[in-house]
C-alpha cells in the first residue's frame, strides 16, 4: 500500500515537473514580454534594462534553473505588470472561479449520473433517445456558443438575468449553467454506457435468477460495478475545477483564474501564467491520484491478489 501510494506520488510529481518545464520553454519562445509590456516606441536601452532587471538576458537554461530553485523555496516570482507576488495574484482569484466550478461540478454529477443510469435502464425507449439527444447536444455545442445563446435568451430577450459581471448570485447562474451543460452531457453518456455494459454481465443474470427484485438488482448489484468507470470520468471533471472556466469567465467577464490567465498570456506576464499552469496541473494530478485510490476501494480485484 505504501509502495503503491509513493509510486503514484512520484509519478504525480514528474507530471507536474513536466508541465512546469513545458510551459516555461513555450512561454519564452513565443514572444518577448519586454516589447509587449513596454510598448513599441521604447528606446533600446530601456528594453535592455528591463530584460536585465527580470533576468531575461541570461541563457534559457540558467533562467530555468533559477526558476526551479525559486519554486522549491516557495517563491513563484513577481508579476511583471503589478510587481506583486504571482502566487498572491493567482490565489486571490481562486474563490471566484470555485464559485462557478463547484456548483457546476455538483450539477454535472447530480444530473449527469442519474440521467445516464435512467436512460440505460430504459434502453431504446423514447426517454433513452431523448437523453442521448440532449447529451450529444450538450457536449457538441461549444461553450462560447452556448454562453452567447443563453445571454441572448435570458439577458437580452427576457431580461431576467444579468449578461455578465460579478457580485450577486444572479450573476453566477448563466456562466454556471454554461459550464455544466457540456459536462452533464458527457457524464450522462458515459454513465449510460457503463450501466448498459454492467447490465449485460452474467452476474446480473445470476442475481435475477436467484430471485432478487429488479430494483435491488440495479441498486445492489449493478450500481457498485458501474461506479468503477464512472469514477474515472468524475475524477476528470474534478480535475477541471480550476481550468474548466477559462472561456466562460471571459464571456461573462467573471474575475476568476481563467480571465487572469487570458490577460496574463496576452501580456506575457510569465510568472503569473506559469503559476496558473502549475496550479492547474497540481489539481489535475491530485484528482487522478484520488481516482486511483478510489479504484482500489471500489474494486476488490485490484485490492487483493488471487489467493487460490
Amino acid at each position: 500500500m505504501i509502495r503503491f501510494v509513493s509510486l503514484r506520488l512520484l509519478r504525480a510529481l514528474v507530471t507536474v515537473l513536466a508541465v512546469m518545464t513545458f510551459s516555461f520553454v513555450v512561454l519564452r519562445m513565443s514572444g518577448d514580454p519586454a516589447e509587449v509590456l513596454l510598448g513599441p516606441d521604447v528606446p533600446q536601452n530601456v528594453i535592455d534594462a528591463f530584460r536585465r532587471q527580470w533576468g531575461l538576458d541570461a541563457p534559457l537554461w540558467r533562467q530555468y534553473l533559477s526558476y526551479l530553485g525559486a519554486i522549491f523555496q516557495g517563491d513563484f516570482g513577481l508579476s511583471m505588470r503589478d510587481r506583486a507576488p504571482a502566487l498572491d495574484l493567482v490565489l486571490e482569484r481562486v474563490p471566484a472561479t470555485l464559485m462557478l466550478t463547484v456548483p457546476a461540478l455538483i450539477l454535472k454529477l447530480g444530473i449527469g449520473i442519474p440521467a445516464g443510469i435512467f436512460a440505460a435502464l430504459h434502453r431504446d425507449s423514447a426517454i433513452d433517445r431523448g437523453v442521448i439527444f440532449l447529451a450529444i447536444l450538450g457536449f457538441t455545442i461549444p461553450s462560447f456558443v452556448m454562453g452567447l445563446v443563453l445571454v441572448l435568451i435570458f439577458a437580452v430577450t427576457l431580461g431576467v438575468l444579468p449578461s455578465g459581471g460579478f457580485g450577486t448570485w444572479q450573476n453566477a447562474i448563466l456562466p454556471g449553467i454554461t459550464i455544466s451543460i457540456g459536462g452533464i452531457g458527457i457524464i450522462a453518456r458515459f454513465s449510460r454506457s457503463a450501466m448498459i455494459e454492467v447490465l449485460g454481465q452474467p452476474y446480473i443474470r445470476t442475481a435475477s435468477a436467484k430471485g432478487v427484485k429488479w430494483h435491488d438488482v440495479v441498486r445492489g448489484h449493478a450500481l457498485p460495478n458501474a461506479a468503477i468507470p464512472i469514477v474515472t470520468i468524475a475524477g476528470f471533471m474534478v480535475g477541471s475545477l480550476i481550468a474548466g472556466a477559462v472561456v466562460v469567465e471571459t464571456i461573462f467577464s467573471w474575475p476568476g483564474i481563467g480571465r487572469l490567465l487570458i490577460v496574463s498570456v496576452s501580456n506575457r506576464d510569465l510568472a503569473v501564467v506559469q503559476c496558473i499552469l502549475l496550479l492547474i496541473a497540481a489539481v489535475m494530478v491530485t484528482a487522478n491520484l484520488i481516482v486511483d485510490l478510489l479504484y482500489g476501494w471500489l474494486d476488490p480485484r485490484l485490492r487483493t491478489g488471487t489467493a487460490h
Binding site: D124, Q201, P202, Y203, R205, T206, A207, S208, A209, K210, G211, V212, K213, W214, G220, H221, P224, N225, I228, L298, D299, P300, R301, T304, T306, A307, H308
Partner: protein, 329 residues
C-alpha cells in the same frame, strides 16, 4: 406422477428472428433431464425464456407451467418468487456469474434472506453449512472473500450453494462444467449427482457434451435449430440414436477407447436463423433427406419404442433378432 414443469409450444424470437419454434417438454419431480445440442440450438434460451430472464427485446409465446402456475410472460413479482426459490439456475462461466465487488458470503446470504427469511447469525450459519456441503474448504475463513479469490471450480461450487439456498424443486444447470478443467468437471458432475440424490430436486442439465449428460441424466432431449428432434431415455438415445442428427453427433466425437480412425463429421454448418430452410432444418446436412424433408417440417412424434422423434426418415428401430445375433458373435 404429475409433472413439475410443463412447457407447451414455447416460441422465442429476437427482433423478429425466431430462435425457438415451439418447444414442448415436461420435467417430473426429482427427474434429471438432459438438453443437448450445439451452440445456438436454443437449449439455454428455452429455460431463460421460461424464467423470464431474456432481455426485453425477446418476444416469447406459449406456456410454461410450474405445477399449474403459468410462468410464461407472468408478472415480474410472480417470477421473482419462483426464481431461486422453486427453480434455481446456474450458468456456464462461474467466474463471471458471481458479482465481482460483493463478498461471496453476502451473495449467499442474500439468497437465504430472499427465500428462507434467514438473516443475521442464522443466515450466516446456513450459508456456511451450504459452503461446506458443496465442498468449499475452510468455509468460515473464506466467507468474507471476493469471487476472484476463488478458482473457477470453487466459483461453480459457490453458484451451486447459492442455488441450493432456496431449496429449489428444480435446478437448471446451463453448461455448468464447460468452462472447467477435466478433473474439476468430474468433481462438479459428481457433486451435482450427489446433491440430487440428497435433496431429491429435479435437475435439467444443459450441455453440448453428450458424455457429461449421460453421466448425470435419466432422460435426454436433443435440440437442433430451435426444435427438439429426438427425446428418450439415456439408454435408448445413447445405445441407439435414431435421428440422423443425434447419430451424427455421436459419430463426430472421437473416442477414448477402440480404433482411432478418421471422424465422421456432419457436413455443412448450422442454418442461419434469419434464413431457415423451409423444411426440416437438418435436411441440408442430412444424408437421409428426401424430397419431403426439403418442404415439410417433421413433427415430434412418439415412437413404438417409447422415444419421440422428429424425422421423416429416421434410422431403423433396433432389430431384436439382430441384437440377439450380435450378442452371440
Amino acid at each position: 406422477m404429475a409433472n413439475l414443469v410443463e412447457i407447451r409450444d414455447l416460441r422465442v424470437a429476437f427482433d423478429g428472428v425466431a430462435v425457438l419454434h415451439g418447444i414442448g417438454l415436461e420435467v417430473a419431480p426429482g427427474e434429471a433431464l438432459g438438453l443437448v445440442g450445439e451452440s445456438g440450438c436454443g437449449k439455454s434460451v428455452t429455460w431463460l425464456a421460461a424464467l423470464g430472464l431474456l432481455p426485453s427485446k425477446a418476444s416469447i409465446d406459449g406456456s410454461v407451467r410450474l405445477q399449474g402456475q403459468e410462468l410464461c410472460n407472468a408478472p415480474r413479482s410472480r417470477l421473482e418468487r419462483v426464481r431461486g426459490g422453486r427453480i434455481a439456475m446456474i450458468f456456464q462461466d462461474p467466474a463471471s456469474a458471481l458479482n465481482p465487488v460483493i463478498r461471496v458470503g453476502r451473495q449467499l446470504c442474500e439468497a437465504l434472506r430472499l427465500h428462507r427469511g434467514l438473516t443475521g447469525a442464522a443466515g450466516r450459519a446456513e450459508a456456511l453449512r451450504l459452503m461446506d456441503m458443496v465442498g468449499i474448504p475452510d468455509a468460515r475463513g473464506r466467507f468474507g472473500l471476493y469471487p476472484h479469490e476463488f478458482s473457477g471450480g470453487q466459483c461453480q461450487r459457490l453458484m451451486i450453494a447459492m442455488a441450493l439456498a432456496g431449496e429449489p424443486e428444480l435446478l437448471i444447470a446451463d453448461e455448468p462444467t464447460t468452462a472447467l478443467d477435466a478433473t474439476i468437471q468430474a468433481q462438479i458432475l459428481d457433486l451435482l449427482a450427489r446433491l440430487r440424490a440428497e435433496t431429491g430436486m429435479a435437475v435439467v442439465f444443459i450441455s453440448h457434451d453428450l458424455g457429461a449428460v449421460a453421466q448425470v441424466c435419466d432422460r435426454v432431449c436433443v435440440m437442433y435449430a430451435g426444435r427438439i428432434v429426438e427425446q428418450g431415455s439415456v439408454a435408448q438415445l445413447f445405445g441407439h440414436p435414431r435421428h440422423p442428427y443425434t447419430r451424427g453427433l455421436f459419430d463426430a466425437i472421437p473416442r477414448l477407447y477402440g480404433p482411432r480412425g478418421a471422424l465422421v463429421p456432419i457436413s455443412g454448418t448450422v442454418p442461419d436463423p434469419r434464413h431457415p430452410p423451409p423444411g426440416c432444418a437438418f435436411a441440408p446436412r442430412c444424408a437421409h433427406a428426401h424430397g419431403f424433408c426439403a418442404t415439410q417440417v417433421p413433427r415430434l412424434l412418439p415412437q413404438r419404442d417409447g422415444r419421440h422423434l422428429a424425422c421423416a426418415f429416421p434410422l431403423p428401430e433396433r432389430d431384436p433378432q439382430r441384437d440377439y445375433e450380435d450378442a452371440l458373435t
